[in-house]
Symmetry: C2
Subunit: 262 residues, 2 copies
């Protein structure tokens, strides 16, 4: 497979840096082709702004989605954006690797999403009608590709359990896994989370590395999270609420998983 | 009151820009003192990195939390960071205003949090013992101050309801409201969300403005979201899981609200 690792940590000599290097090696040893977008090393421009369209309209106000659309359709996107889109097209699997900072991804990675996920590329794709509300949530440009998060946290695992004070890790990651990855079409694998990374000795480092290695070895075969497709009948259109007979009486992020699907 | 508005939209002539200007006027007319951190206009540095400590240790690896701590304690923080911390100390109420991009805040605002929320300022505060796990989640540097989100979305309100495809808006905002605002001590008011902002005519704009005005008029009196305090007895320490007799049998973000508290 072709594997793209999008990696966001400022220090190469960190645990994250070691795990990224390990992942590249492990994947290449298994015969995969690997590209890394090392956002800090690339000095990735984190902030979406008018300069992302190299052909701005003088005097017009900047419209984030409108300008994104014009730039994407007209081939006037900033070169760094187009390059990352090419990497996504090339990839069969994409890994986003980052430390969980304030319960989400680092700003530099959020800015990668905002700029690379152009209108016409990752959203605003497909027809809108009474039975189909755009190619999204299970359909779209990135359909057929796999994606997985590799996340480190300073906090303890118990703090991220179903009744832990930070909130369940799956719910904290839902806006990313469902909203950023499933949305443009990815099959999203369960996340690989490493907890309490401030306290890792050599013995535990070996375990951490090997646990990640197992996930990389099964990148092509691990069953994805069974998120419900938007346009396959489970949702009313255009309200986009789950039909009442499904997950009846329930609410929240969990209803968007179809546990009966295998 | 002293009110700080932290505002993140790239275009002054946008709906967000208009609402920000309106908010300043409305608050000042009511006798409040207002400061605005207009992150795009300030060209805020979004990316946390080694340069945030003006006294780095040569040859040492960069440690995001360790360097933040040394810079905060030693008075060697980058000047832009210290200035924003002063604004937070000055404020009685803080409004974060932003468009919801990919189900979270724009990267430039996430980077404001990451850089301004220093170790010793917004985290790593207070003692850790068997009965107290740091001054956080209801205690901390920003305790006694109020905070509120003002958020715009392109999507429809039904898409963000309890069974809407994007997930419930309260759950999408939980990592921000609980994890970024309640964490360092803020009392967090219910968010003010404006939906479907791509389709706003003059009549609706008047309604949108007035609805925001009402929220601003009651900024000092609106009851906060009843998040549970970490160190007040509801959680086991150090596991930080909710005691089994509370919200018994339930799980997810919702258990961290105490609906019996008035």
């Amino acid at each position: 497979m072709n594997v793209l690792i999008v990696y966001a940590h400022p220090e190469p000599r960190s645990l994250n840096g070691s795990l990224k290097d390990f992942a590249v090696q492990r994947l290449e040893n298994a015969g995969h082709a690997v590209q890394v977008s090392d956002l800090y090393a690339m000095q990735w421009k984190a902030v979406l702004d008018a300069a992302d369209n190299t052909a701005p309209r003088p005097g017009e106000r900047f419209d984030p989605s409108g300008d994104s659309r014009r730039a994407f359709e007209g081939g006037t996107q900033s070169a760094d954006i187009a390059l990352e889109q090419d990497k996504l097209r090339w990839a069969d699997a994409v890994i986003l690797q980052f430390p969980l900072w304030w319960f989400s991804m680092p700003a530099i990675l959020k800015g990668w999403i905002e700029r690379v996920y152009a209108y016409g590329f990752a959203y605003g794709v497909g027809e809108h009608s009474d039975t189909h509300w755009g190619d999204r949530y299970g359909e779209g440009t990135l359909a057929g590709k796999r994606a997985m998060l590799v996340v480190t946290t300073g906090g303890w695992e118990s703090h991220y359990t179903s009744r832990g004070i930070n909130g369940p890790i799956d719910d904290l990651l839902f806006p990313i896994q469902h909203g950023l990855l499933f949305y443009p079409g990815f099959d999203v694998l369960p996340p690989h989370v490493v907890y309490r990374v401030g306290k890792i000795d050599d013995a535990r480092f070996e375990q951490v590395r090997e646990a990640l290695g197992q996930r990389l070895d099964t990148l092509g075969s691990t069953p994805p999270i069974p998120f419900r497709k938007q346009n396959a009948g489970d949702y009313r259109i255009p309200e986009l609420t789950l039909r009442p007979e499904l997950a009846s009486g329930q609410s929240g992020f969990g209803v968007h998983l179809d546990h009966d699907r295998v």
